[in-house]
């Protein structure tokens, strides 16, 4: 099967200031490659500081890579730091929805802006799209006029999901997006995600510390350590017989 998303030899270096004039180079990601098909879920695990969030931000385009390519359906959307700025097929849900939503805008205004920036829908089409997206993630049409501070955490996560889905993405990156939720709400959101995946063939990239969740929903697993992939393959196989020491340590806790 032709993979939907292909990541080839992605590298990222940060310049860190070490003193007044000299700068130190710090390689956060080295030579990352993996690929996923449509409707699949890939999980990325690793210790803190292993570069997971950086990888997520590279994928959605918040950072640009130093070298390497990202291909979506065989179209290059990132090539050695050149990003196709128009591409909104990869969307991200942040760890903390409360801080990733603008407190001064209502939900409708926020979603409307999203559509305005990226589509040439007219007013009626936009509001229809907003209504249908809110219903899709299990919110009410009335929630449109609400400000972010009026939602519970579980609802905020749904709002964040609506924001990601309103542009009809192909890939959704969840960076610790489920970690801050309590178990019952997490179960609700996970079920919602799985339902959407079944219906629309979404691809998820799941970054989490939560191992049972990984085992439950992901097809493939990437284990990162200090910016390098130490293990990559089928989730169940890795869970059964982890090869490297690092994976063994991660999975045993």
């Amino acid at each position: 099967m032709q993979p939907l998303l292909k990541v080839q030899a992605l590298s990222k270096t940060f310049n860190i200031r070490a003193g007044l004039f000299n700068r130190k180079k710090f390689e956060v990601l080295k030579n990352i490659s993996f690929s996923i098909g449509k409707g699949e879920t890939i999980a990325i695990i690793g210790e803190t500081g292993s570069g997971k969030s950086t990888l997520a931000k590279l994928l959605v385009g918040a950072y640009s890579a130093d070298s390497g390519q990202i291909l979506l359906e065989n179209n290059t959307i990132e090539n050695n730091g050149q990003r196709d700025a128009q591409c909104r097929y990869i969307r991200m849900i942040f760890q903390d929805s409360a801080t990733s939503l603008n407190p001064a805008l209502t939900i409708a205004e926020m979603l409307d802006d999203c559509l305005k920036f990226n589509t040439d829908f007219d007013q009626a089409q936009r509001s229809e799209k907003i209504d249908s997206t809110l219903l899709k993630v299990g919110l009410l049409v009335d929630h449109q006029q609400y400000y972010p501070h009026m939602f519970s955490i579980g609802q905020l996560q749904r709002v964040a999901l609506a924001r990601a889905l309103i542009l009809d993405p192909k890939v959704v990156v969840l960076d610790e997006a489920l970690s801050s939720l309590d178990p019952s709400v997490r179960a609700q959101i996970v079920n919602l995600l799985l339902k959407l995946q079944l219906e629309t063939g979404l691809t998820y990239i799941l970054i989490t510390h939560h191992l049972s969740l990984v085992r439950h929903i992901s097809d493939q697993l990437v284990v990162l350590n200090k910016g390098e992939i130490v293990e990559y393959g089928d989730t169940e196989t890795i869970f059964q017989s982890p090869q490297s020491k690092i994976t063994q340590r991660l999975l045993s806790c």
């Binding site: 802006d113 920036f117 924001r163």
Partner: protein
């Protein structure tokens, strides 16, 4: 009006409405706001409200004490000075100079400060660090001293004072705004908004400014109270408004010689200055408290 509010709509309010609700419960701040508004109205309409002209002399009524004193006269509620001028009229007109010009100075500072501060906040690299170091140098000089230096170059006079105060307040203002913008730019919702496809202009106008304008108002009130004190101080030092002008600091300086003979001519402008600064600070402080409370919840 219904007696009971069955459905509390509190949660349904916009951020601005919530701000006002919290502000209302802080009574000193509310009183400060009323006094502040009264000063604004006075500054705008004093020439029409004042019972006498500022330089109108009553040779039959020199150095009359305020009217509640036995020796006072009802015609001159707050008494007269040594030239027989009505103190009330002079003080009312003084609001236009001391308070009104301070507001103008603070407003101009705000406009320039927000523009330059925003620019400094969003620009990176050499330009930003150049601006920062320049600001740091000027920040280390107190604003009154800086204003006096600028007056020394421009020459004394009321309008020059205003320019001097604007120039002296600007570094601090730009610095605060820049920090505000940089803090805000680092937040997740800005990244998320950028990923939605928002341009720099959208991020500033719909993302950052709606979230920081209260802080700008707080900085404005701080600049305003400094401006009031600076204008009065420069007037008192004879570097600003010159005596026939009814600027409060200048009135103080002019009547300083009468302090034993006619204490009210010195005390009353002082009281007004105190009230103007106090009300401005109360409003600013109330606003700051509300913002802190909102951050906490």
């Amino acid at each position: 009006m219904a007696k009971f509010n069955l459905f509390s709509e509190d949660a349904n309010k916009s951020p601005l409405a919530r701000l006002w609700r919290k502000f209302k419960n802080n009574h000193p701040a509310l009183v400060g706001l009323w006094v502040f508004i009264a000063f604004c109205i006075l500054a705008a309409t004093a020439p029409f409200l004042a019972p006498y002209g500022v330089n109108q002399q009553h040779s039959d009524a020199l150095l009359l004490p305020p009217s509640w004193n036995e020796m006072g006269d009802v015609r001159f509620i707050l008494g007269t000075d040594d030239l027989g001028r009505d103190v009330l009229s002079r003080l009312m007109n003084g609001a236009t100079y001391t308070f009104g010009l301070s507001v103008v100075a603070a407003l101009i500072t705000t406009m320039i400060g927000v523009l330059v501060g925003t620019f400094a906040g969003i620009s990176k690299g050499l330009r930003a660090s150049f601006l920062n170091h320049l600001l740091d140098v000027t920040l280390s000089i107190p604003s009154l001293l800086l204003a006096i230096i600028i007056i020394a170059i421009l020459g004394p006079g009321l309008m020059n004072t205003v320019w001097a105060i604007i120039l002296a307040l600007l570094p601090q203002f730009i610095h605060s705004i820049r920090n505000l913008i940089v803090d805000e730019l680092g937040k997740d919702y800005v990244t998320a908004y950028r990923l939605d496809g928002a341009s720099n202009w959208h991020i500033l106008s719909r993302g950052i400014f709606p979230n920081v304008y209260e802080y700008i108002v707080v900085i404005f009130t701080m600049a305003l109270s400094t401006a009031i004190l600076d204008i009065a101080a420069l007037g008192f030092l004879k570097l600003g408004a010159q005596p026939p002008t009814t600027e409060w600091g200048a009135i103080l300086a002019e009547n300083l010689g009468l302090i034993y003979l006619a204490p009210w001519t010195v005390a009353l402008p002082g009281v007004l200055l105190f009230l103007a600064v106090l009300s401005t600070n109360l409003v600013g402080d109330g606003l700051r408290k509300v913002l802190q409370a909102r951050k906490a919840d």
